[in-house]
Amino acid sequence: MTKSDFAVIGQPLPKVDAWAKVVGETKYADDLFLPRMVYGKLLRSSHAHARIRSIDTARARAVPGVYAVITGADLPRVKFGILPVSQDEEALCTEKVRMVGDAVAAVAAVDEETAEQACRLIEVDYEPLPALMSVFDALAHPEVRIHEYGDGPNVHKSVALQFGDVDTALTSADLVREDVFFFEGSNHLPMEQHAAVAHWGSDGKLTLWSSTQTPHYVHRLLAKVLDTPAAHIRVIATPVGGGFGGKTEPFAHEIVACQLSKLTGRPVKIALTREEVFYTHRGRHPVLMWIKTGFTKQGDITGCHLRTWLDGGAYGSYGVASTFYTGVINPMTYKMPVYKFEAARIFTNKPPCGPKRGHGTPQPRFALECQLDKAAEQLGLDPAEMRRRIVAEPFTKTANHLTITTIGLGECIDKVVEASGWREKRARFGGQPEPPSPKKPGIGIACSAYLTGAGTAIYWNDMPHSGVIARADRSGGVAVLCGATDIGQGSDSVLAYLTAEVLGIEPKDVHVHPADTSLTPVDLGSYSSRVTLMCGMAAIQAAERLRAVIFQAVAQRLEVSATSLVARERKVGVPDDWDRAVPFAKAVELGEAIHGVLAFPGSYAPPKRAGKYKGGGVGPSPCYSYSACVVELTVDEETGHVDLGNVWIAHDVGRALNPLLVEGQVEGSVYMGIGEALMEEQVFRKNLHKQPSMLEYKSPTTLETPEIHTILVETDDPEGPFGAKEAGQGPLLPVIPAIANAIYHALDIRIDEVPITPDKILKALELKRLGKPARVGPVKLPLFTFKEPIVVESAFGQPADAVVSRPFTS
């Protein structure tokens, strides 16, 4: 279909919730105030690693205004975790703390101040244990065990996969490069601090309002940790004030709020401070990487071998998935005939890392794209042209058995090369600027791919990943019930647009009711860029089922065939006889008279295309988005300051359901990539977070954010709703290596780790002056033996399967 065939799709409409947001009406979790509500506070460990000998709460209980004080002994003794394989967390630690910030006790009181005061009076007797604060420490001290489970002492997860004969492929290459990179961890830094309000009613039923991206998973795990039937628990995700992956699993404060509500008989609110948000974390993993890739003289990749070491922090979180993600997406962009990937996630006594925008993929993408840049130079190739030549083919499989459907990467590269004036600037920059200045210009390029929704759920099941109920009422309005959580990405709006498009009504006529486990069909959550595609497909199916009954009724009334009808402009009729078209509200009445209540479900589960090998469940996605990015900047060789001039980014979004919102996702991704490339770092000193505040933790303001030029490429993917693919994560990935490559172009220095701070640039320039290799980056790799790889034949270049199992499509 072309754009003109659509009424709503492709229009730059305001978000359906924009109006409430600009007048301050949107109720985030901390905006809820219930009658008799009290306030909870968590007491958190000041030790990075310690045994808990005893906890004395007597003095805290005696404080006037305190309603309850609890420790882990007051909760069912059951551990939890977002992944079934990593059930290693306690809301309140009972035997051991594993990081500064682990919660050990909690207070409910008349106000926050009283709760804080009481927390300070709780006496915890700790027996300190050695703190392991880095991957190297953790591997060097197997006698100190952070957890008793995993793939080895302090090894949470180790994976090794090989697709084809990588050794032979590297031997036959004209050029083989081995490089080492490091990507520092970073926090999501959502503007909204996590907050939750729990109300355990006198009927024995629990309601939790929370700023969560995954109400369904919170629902399931609350039942487990509170030892309460899930049928008596209701989780409502309030509008989320920024997530970026930081609110995708159950947290101590949510569980504790529930338990405190049960004990006090009152609603309980717990709102985290900014410092607590930094310690709650679940952000970007610090990853050390070794990558060895073979190239032909023409720039073709002959094979690639990647090793990654993830600093996981104190708990499992999504870590098993994160570990796989540091390897499985790299083969999506270019022709890579054989591939070997080894990874290990190591426990350390720091806040746990988890999924942050791009989940595990920006780190290896940084490594691969910087290495490609180095190889291009050695081979005398233009880095943009080299990438363009080796772009993967549509509707084929990668070495690691992932299916590429549409791929607009070639067009993306062409678009950013043209828009940025790449060729001219590439030739002109990189030398002495005219007039002479310490500010040296450079221009760099990088590309990326990202999944449009994880192909498998967190817990194995055969049910839908996303469900929608569309209910038409006699007013002509349509209610859409869906478990999706709007975290600012616009999922409520997408549901309204798609429903309106199918039914020929206006988005304003659609009432979206999201994220309430009592009312809405399950959606797995706002993570892995899955919502637009999966909820979208479910919404389309539900709306089409509703439309079919309405068409049947209108066809009877007009005495025409149902197949001759269309729905548009809030009417249903035959295009050639539009004067007789029935108003939509009337059409609903006709339908209801025949069918009864008009409420129809839509269900979606991804096509079953997981590779037939252990570990093949991480990486498959209905389709993948692609991005290419060119960054133009200057680097001041006296101060090391990087000044970003312009960023051009082209993103293959399949189809822009609303170009305004897609641009917003791309711009936000670029911005977040800039932060990670140049300044953001979640680092520790003496077991403490070095900068747990928004002032000290540097993030880009309006002044550091350059002009971002967004170009949308549409490939109309057969898997997506009206052809749409993801936009919220993928565009972050290429920005970081494009910046590193542009800095190299400006000054001939390689900073092989992020963030690229001025001190690193000055250090590299000093090395250059001394005639040494002008590189700053990791030099040491951990002593670690990966297990024998699972060896699978490469599926590279095979055509996509013609027949695929697609649940719930009929």
């Binding site: 978000k15 924009a18 600009v22 105030f33 900014r274 928004m694 309006t702």
Partner: protein
């Protein structure tokens, strides 16, 4: 120690009996029910809690209500007049400048003060004015666009009247 404070908020006289150290942010949200004002750090670092005091942007997490008696306090709830959105609210909604929306009230008020001071700011002046307001969703692009559009519309309106 609790004190009685008399505040003028969005043109209305409001009174509250609050601990003397309770911040303006907390009093607005918890005592006056004006939850449109958000918080991101409560340490004066992120700009999220910005309100206007006599037209000037102030971080309400660092202001004490006793200091603001006699001042005109404007929160996001006071921007629309008579059911008509402020041009900034209109342009922010139209251009997608509010994604999660959490930083939006603070940015709207900071921009209101800017446009009162400089009706036709350059893009750099908009950037300078908003440098103290963090946003994690938008990359600021659509925010800058929306401020410029509102300035343009307000200028036209001015020219007509």
């Amino acid at each position: 120690m609790k004190v009685r404070v008399a505040l003028t908020v969005n043109g209305e006289s409001r009174e509250a009996l609050v601990p003397v150290h309770k911040t303006l942010l907390e009093v607005l949200r918890e005592d006056l029910g004006l939850t449109g004002t958000k918080h991101g750090c409560e340490l004066g670092e992120c700009g999220t809690c910005t309100v206007l005091l006599d037209g000037e942007p102030v971080l309400s997490c660092l202001a004490l209500p006793v200091e603001t008696e006699g001042c005109r306090i404007t929160t996001v709830e006071g921007m629309a007049e008579g059911g008509r959105l402020h041009p900034l609210q209109q342009s922010f909604a139209e251009l997608g400048a509010a994604q999660c929306g959490y930083c939006t009230p603070g940015i709207l008020l900071t921009a209101t003060a800017l446009l009162a001071d400089r009706p036709s700011p350059t893009r750099q002046e908009v950037k300078d004015a908003l440098a103290g307001n963090l946003c994690r969703c938008t990359g600021y692009t659509k925010i800058l666009d929306a401020v410029e559009l509102a300035a343009l519309r307000m200028g036209r309106q001015e020219a007509r009247t």
